[in-house]
């Protein structure tokens, strides 16, 4: 094995990457989000999407949904590293539950007149996107769905005068009667 002079063992790892959605139930206290994000940046993990909001205000509980990419060993590490943080109650790998619902909301601003404007409206209807703002030369569409559906809608809007997009990131929940 050839490697440059180094005090460390330099190795390439070839395990394929996987994308997982994690739901993390945390105590809503100052700095808790910084701890979670700091863990990801400090240990070199990826954050593809991050959503956080208080979900049970009496108990001061927040739910963080993180979409991350890594090898199976890295994904397992991320879950363990999150779980050992003091204010973290539970970490659930929604991807492993196999039947989680994942939704994202996007607001999509499109500018145009004439045929493009009609076409944008027609496609929005097909995607069940709502018009939440309109001027004579623009629309803002609100669309909800999984990330790939939103990506597809945005791609379709691009040639029709896409101006900008604001997305919430993924929120996830399991099917069936049980909570996390």
């Amino acid at each position: 094995m050839n490697q440059p002079a180094s005090a460390y063992f330099l190795e390439e790892r070839h395990d394929p990457n996987e994308t997982h959605t994690l739901s993390v139930l945390v105590q809503n206290e100052p700095g808790v989000l910084a701890r979670v994000i700091g863990l990801f940046s400090g240990r070199g993990y990826n954050i593809d999407s991050l959503t956080v909001s208080e979900t049970e205000s009496q108990k001061h509980l927040s739910r963080i949904t993180i979409v991350t990419t890594g090898t199976p060993m890295v994904i397992q590490q991320i879950k363990h590293q999150l779980d050992r943080m003091i204010p973290v109650y539970r970490v659930v790998d929604m991807t492993l539950t196999g039947q989680a619902l994942e939704r994202e909301l996007a607001m999509v601003k499109v500018r145009g007149t004439g045929d493009n404007r009609v076409e944008a409206l027609r496609l929005a209807d097909a995607f069940r996107a709502r018009v939440i703002d309109a001027t004579t030369e623009s629309f803002v569409f609100e669309i909800t769905g999984n990330s790939s559906k939103i990506n597809q809608f945005i791609d379709l809007m691009r040639p029709l005068g896409l101006v900008e997009v604001s997305r919430t990131g993924v929120a996830a929940i399991t099917r069936g009667p049980e909570g996390m």
Binding site: M1, E11, P30, H80
Partner: protein
């Protein structure tokens, strides 16, 4: 309005801090005063239950507390001021996090109304220390202070131990509130470390151990952290199974170095027999160690034919670097107890005679050998003499970081846990001297020796003044080769012997330096002087700085070169220029 003036639990935040220390059994704390902690220092002045040790630099307080904690099993406590006081603690906090040492660090902070205003000696202490603590808190109200302090002690000392920081603004120290003694509701309900191992997993492990042909036990700092009982159980398990045992740097002393099953330390500078046993074993029992990169070498060639059992209190240690077959989450001592009980009840000692014969062959290679020299003191010889002349005494050893640290680990035999304090994970030069101060505070009548290097020791040498002030008779045994030895070794082996800035051209006269501080300075120049000087050092009941002049260019062997596996070690007798060159082939320059 009720009259609260007679309620003994009504007190200022500063008084609460001292009261909480007393309630948690703290006898000593290490610190350095400053503007943002003056109310706490005022409280310390007015009591006598907690003794404060004044250091010369906050980093020294941190390492002293680490040494104190590591040698007693109790948390080390530190008190420093805001801003630079807190930032100077970052190194010891990180060190304690890497080596799982329980520390409770209380930092002063500027008053709450000034936080965020770039006030004098303000820094974002919780932000800076978030990645180098197990947990930290900024206390914004005196009403939260007692709860946070109790939780801090609980978090630091339970589960996988680690450092915590409680940042207390000055107005919170002045404010009056109600103190309450420690109770269970002080702790986050989300924090529930697991202590007891899963019985089914332990049963599987016992079955695997009972059928092993080439087993090895590999232990780490987790066994030490678990307490003396864990080491006792480990010794019983080794006896019950008859298995060979090796340990990481952090785990030395859990099993006695004089024990018949001891293979020596493993890893980059471990013994040949320990590393070969790890490589060729069929069952590996890892207890409280974390498959660190200094241990594994190339992970894809690490112990390729073995089934691995891993006992660890921290689930994130499992499958982090090496995939294991039977993970057992729990406290090392607790799991070892269950494992031993089940093994003696249900299994028999497997016959592993051929394996021991193989190990005997590896041992015969005598991988720690070095050539004798009558003119110059060899560092290995110096440690061996130090070991022989302190054998049987009540001795604690600390080290700095570098070649001398590895030689100490190789040549000083540890018989008991909690006797060996070294910076393993972070590798902090300057750890050993203040750590020795902390150890000596905890064990005033014991012999405490910092095995040091001439470069490392200068990073925190000002703590000699602390030792003098508190009449702590620590011994600083410097292997003085005038180089940053480990840096020089790597430069020689991997960077064409271009010794870039690893030679210290202007070393102080250590003997005069010792005298300037009010310590005793000793020196040994020749092997013939060594024993007498060491005996003199031991007999002096004052702090001693021992300048042991050793061979300048000695290398630390055996060694696993970068990118190599355990069975590709470079042994001392093979370390000719040609062999070294070929072992490091692929390096951009050769010796």
């Amino acid at each position: 309005m009720t009259d609260k003036s007679h309620d003994p639990n009504q007190m200022t935040g500063a008084a609460m801090i001292v009261r909480a220390l007393i309630d948690h059994g703290v006898e000593h704390l290490f610190g350095y005063p400053g503007g943002a902690v003056l109310p706490i220092y005022d409280e310390i002045f007015q009591q006598s239950e907690v003794e404060h040790i004044l250091v010369r630099h906050e980093q020294g307080a941190g390492h002293a507390a680490e040494g104190y904690a590591r040698s007693t099993g109790k948390p080390g406590v530190v008190l420093v001021t805001s801003g630079p006081g807190a930032t100077n603690m970052v190194t010891p906090l990180t060190d304690a996090l890497m080596d799982s040492i329980p520390l409770v660090c209380i930092t002063g902070q500027v008053p709450t109304h000034l936080i965020g205003n770039d006030a004098f000696q303000e820094c974002d202490t919780v932000g800076i220390t978030r990645p180098c603590t197990k947990h930290n808190w900024l206390v914004r109200s005196v009403d939260d202070l007692a709860k946070v302090l109790h939780e801090a002690f609980y978090v630091a000392t339970t589960g996988r131990p680690g450092p915590v920081v409680v940042d207390v603004p000055k107005d919170v120290q002045f404010a009056t509130g109600t103190y309450h003694p420690p109770n269970k509701s002080d702790v986050h309900v989300s924090y529930t470390p697991r202590v007891k191992g899963d019985e089914n997993q332990i049963r599987k492990a016992v079955a695997m151990l009972a059928h092993a042909k080439r087993p090895v036990i590999y232990t780490g700092g987790g066994v030490i952290n678990s307490g003396p009982e864990a080491s006792t159980l480990l010794r019983k398990l080794v006896e019950a199974t008859g298995f060979p045992i090796t340990s990481t740097l952090m785990g030395l002393g859990a099993y006695p170095a004089s024990g018949p099953n001891w293979l020596g330390m493993l890893g980059m500078h471990g013994t040949y027999e320990a590393n070969m046993a790890m490589h060729d074993c069929d069952v590996m029992l890892c207890v409280g160690a974390r498959f660190d990169d200094r241990i594994t070498g190339r992970t894809d060639a690490f112990s390729p034919g073995s089934k691995k059992i891993h006992i660890d209190i921290d689930p994130s240690s499992i499958n982090k670097n090496i995939r294991v077959d039977i993970p057992i989450i729990g406290d090392a001592g607790n799991v070892l107890g269950d494992l031993l009980h089940m093994f003696t009840a249900e299994a028999r000692k497997p016959d592993i005679k051929p394996w021991w014969q193989q190990i005997a062959q590896w041992r015969a290679r005598n991988s720690l050998s070095y050539r004798k020299n009558n003119d110059i003191i060899l560092p290995q010889y110096a440690i061996q003499r130090l070991f022989e002349l302190t054998r049987g005494k009540d001795t604690y050893i600390t080290t700095e970081v570098g070649q001398h640290q590895m030689w100490a680990a190789q040549f000083y035999g540890f018989e008991e846990p909690h006797r060996w304090m070294t910076s393993g994970g972070l590798g902090t030069m300057g750890y050993g001297l203040p750590a020795a101060v902390g150890v000596q505070v905890a064990h005033p009548d014991s012999l405490v020796i910092d095995i040091a290097g001439d470069a490392s020791v200068q990073m925190t040498i000002q703590e000699m003044s602390t030792a003098v002030q508190y009449e702590l008779p620590i011994k600083i045994f410097i292997l003085n080769n005038q180089y940053m030895g480990m840096v020089r070794q790597w430069q020689q082996l991997l960077h064409g012997n271009r010794l870039s800035h690893s030679y210290t051209e202007a070393l102080p006269d250590f003997v005069k330096l010792a005298e300037a501080y009010g310590c005793v300075g000793l020196q040994a120049l020749k092997p013939a002087d060594l024993d007498g000087a060491i005996k003199e050092m031991i007999s002096i009941k004052r702090p001693v700085l021992f300048d042991c002049r050793v061979a300048a260019l000695e290398n630390c062997f055996p060694m696993i070169p970068s990118g190599k596996a355990h069975n590709e070690m470079l042994l001392p007798e093979e370390a000719t220029d040609a062999a070294t060159a070929s072992a490091f082939a692929g390096g951009k320059a050769l010796v």
